[in-house]
Symmetry: C2
Subunit: 345 residues, 2 copies
C-alpha cells in the first residue's frame, strides 16, 4: 500500500463543492499521520462549459490519468442542455478510464427514513457494468425532426466486457458472509444480450460453488426491491438496469442523500472515480443544506479501493453511529455533519 | 356500440385457466341481457409448445384477427426456454396486431397491502409504448459462445410510433380530472431516442394547453414511485421503461395480483388484447389460490375499449367494494372471489 495519495478532486456544480469539502475533511481526519495526501482541483462542469464551451479537454483528461483516484461532487445544471455534461464529462470519464465496475452499496442505516413499511433489513451491493450496454453512444437518428424520423440506440455487449464484471461480482459475493449473487437482466426479451449475460454468468458460477446464484428479470427485481429487499446480497447487472435499480435502491434505503458509488477500474490501469449517486441539487446549493454523507461514504469506497480497508471501515462505522444518533428534529448544516463525522473517525 | 361481443380467449398456462374462468364469469354477469357474448378458446402456451413445437401458427394468428377482442390469462412455464413463448407468442401478438398502447392503470385500492409506509394516495395510469424500443427483436450476436462474442440489442424509435402513443397519452390525460402527463425517458444518455421522444412530447403538448406536463429520467421516476407516487396522473414512456415501471407500480399498489393491462390498437384495425400483468405462477396453479382480480379488472378495460363504459365502471366499483370488505384473516378461493365479484356487478 502506497503511503501517499495523489487525489484529483472535481467539485463540479451545485452542492458539489460543499459536499466534497466535507468528504476531504473526513478523509484528512481518518488518514494515518504518515500518509501524505495531495489534492488537485479540476474546474469542470456547468460553469466551465458556459465559460469556455469545454466539457473535458484532452489535456485535462491526460492530467487526470496521473492521479491515484478521483473524487467527484456532482455535475449538472438545468441551464445546460440534457446530455452535454453527461456524455461529454461523466460518461467520458467512465469510458476513457475503463471504469467497468460501477459499485453501489445499499444499506438501510439505523434511524434513517425509508418509504417502506416494516423497515426490512437491507444490505446489498449492486455491481453495475460501466462501459457497455445502451451507454456506449452507439446509435443515431435518420431524417431527424421530420415525420419520418428513425432514432436508434444500440446496446453493445461483449463477452470480454460481461465476463470481467461478472467475475468481479462473484469475487465480491464470495467475500461476503451470505455469498449470494443475483443476475438481473431481461433475457426473455433482450435475447441476444440476455444469452450472453446468462451464459457467462452460468459459466463463471461453476468456478464459485460456494456462491449461491439466482436470476431475475429486471421488472421482477423492482418488485422485490420494495417487497423483499432483504433477499439481495450482491447483484450484477447491465449498465442501464443498474442505473435504474440503484436509484430505486437509494430510495428504499433512505434516499439518495446516503448513496455512495465507485466507478472502478480494478486493474489499476487508470484512476478510479468516486462520487455520490445524487445530483447537483441547484435548488439547495450554497445554503449549507446538503447532506454530505453520500460523499463521505464514497470516500470510504475510495480508501478501500486504494488499500486502506481499516480507514474505510472507520468511516462507515462513523456514519452508522452518527445516523443512529441523529434526531429528526434538529437539522444540521452540511458543515456540522462533516465535522461530526470527522470527529468520530 | 355493437350489441354482440365475439371474444377470443387464451387461457394459457399455470393459473391462466383459473383466472380467465372468473373473468368470463364476471363478464357474463355484467353484460346486459341483449348483448350476445360468443367466446372461442385458443390452446396456446407452454403445453401446446411441448406437444407440437408451435407457439403461434399463422392460421391461428389469422383466426384471432377476426375477433372483437382477446382475453388472455397467463403464458409461461419454467420448462420452456426463456424467450420462446415471450417472443413467439406474447410479443408476436402485440406486434402482429400493432398494439401500440400498452395501458396499465395503477390504483391503491382500499384495504389492500402496500409495502409503502403511510399509504399514499396512488391513482395513475402508465401508457407504455408497445411496438418499438428495445422490444423489436433487432440486434444479434457475432462469434456467439466465443470469448470474442459481441451481442447487440437495437432500440428502434420512429416519429410515427412515438407520436401516436404520445397523442394517445395526452388524450387520456386531458380526460382525467388532474390533467397531468409525465414523460419518462433517459434522454441525458439515450440522446437519439431521447430527443425524438422529448421533441415529439413538446410538440404535441402545444396542442393540449389544458394538460400540465413534466419530464423525468427513468431512474428518478423509480424514486418517486416509492417516495411520492401520488404525484403521478398519466405517464407515457418507452416499451422497456414501461415494462419496468409498471411492475414497480403493481408492487406499490398491493401487488401484481391486482394489476390489469390492455394491449390496445385504438384504430380498431386489429383486436386488442387484455391480460393481467402477473405471470402463470406454476407453483400455485390448480389449487384455487390465485387471485382473479387482475383478470377481472382486465375485463373492465376490455369492456371500456369496446364501448361498454358503464359496465366497466360497474366492475371497477365491484372490485373496490369487494376489496374494502375483504378481511385479511379469511382466504377465499379463486372461485369464491369470482363469485363475489359476479354477484356485485
Ligand atoms: C448522470 C447520468 C449520466 C448517470 C447515469 O445514468 O449513469 C447517473 O444517473 C448515475 O447513475 O450515475
Ligand atoms: C413476458 C414479457 C414479454 C412481458 C414484457 O416484457 O412486456 C411482461 O413482462 C409484461 O410486462 O407484459
Amino acid at each position: 500500500m502506497s503511503r501517499s495519495i495523489d487525489l484529483a478532486v472535481i467539485p463540479g456544480d451545485g452542492i458539489g463543492q460543499e459536499v466534497v469539502a466535507q468528504g476531504l475533511k473526513v478523509l484528512n481526519a481518518v488518514l494515518p499521520q504518515d500518509v501524505k495526501l495531495e489534492t488537485k482541483e479540476y474546474d469542470l462542469g456547468a460553469q466551465r462549459w458556459h465559460r469556455t464551451g469545454e466539457t473535458l479537454p484532452d489535456a485535462e483528461l491526460e492530467a487526470l490519468k496521473g492521479h491515484d483516484a478521483i473524487l467527484l461532487g456532482a455535475i449538472g445544471d438545468p441551464s445546460v442542455p440534457s446530455g452535454v455534461l453527461e456524455r461529454g464529462l461523466l460518461l467520458k470519464l467512465r469510458f476513457a478510464f475503463d471504469h467497468f465496475i460501477n459499485l453501489r452499496p445499499s444499506k438501510l442505516f439505523p434511524n434513517t427514513a425509508t418509504p417502506l413499511a416494516g423497515r426490512p433489513d437491507i444490505d446489498f451491493v449492486v455491481v453495475r457494468e460501466g462501459t457497455e450496454g445502451p451507454y456506449t453512444g452507439n446509435g443515431g437518428s435518420l431524417r431527424t425532426g421530420t415525420p419520418a424520423e428513425v432514432a436508434t440506440e444500440v446496446s453493445v455487449n461483449t463477452a470480454y466486457g460481461v465476463e470481467r464484471v461478472v467475475r468481479d461480482a462473484f469475487e465480491r459475493a464470495a467475500a461476503r458472509p451470505r455469498k449470494k449473487l443475483t443476475l438481473v437482466h431481461k433475457n426473455n426479451v433482450l435475447v441476444y444480450a440476455g444469452h450472453l449475460w446468462k451464459n457467462t454468468f452460468d459459466k463463471v458460477a461453476a468456478e464459485y460453488p460456494q456462491v449461491s446464484t439466482d436470476y431475475l428479470h429486471v421488472d421482477a427485481a423492482t418488485i422485490f426491491f420494495v417487497t423483499q429487499p432483504e433477499r439481495f446480497d450482491v447483484i450484477v447487472t447491465d449498465n442501464l438496469f443498474g442505473d435504474i435499480l440503484t436509484d430505486l435502491a437509494a430510495a428504499v434505503t433512505g434516499g439518495i442523500g446516503l448513496a455512495a458509488s465507485g466507478n472502478i477500474n480494478p486493474t489499476g490501469a487508470f484512476p478510479s472515480m468516486f462520487e455520490p449517486v445524487h445530483g447537483s441539487a441547484p435548488d439547495i446549493a450554497g445554503q449549507g443544506k446538503a447532506d454530505p454523507t453520500a460523499t463521505v461514504l464514497s470516500v470510504a469506497l475510495l480508501l478501500r479501493h486504494l488499500g486502506y480497508e481499516a480507514e474505510a471501515v472507520r468511516i462507515e462505522d462513523a456514519v452508522s453511529a452518527d445516523l443512529a444518533e441523529r434526531d429528526g428534529a434538529t437539522t444540521r448544516t452540511t458543515d456540522e455533519i462533516g465535522d461530526a463525522l470527522a470527529v468520530r473517525v
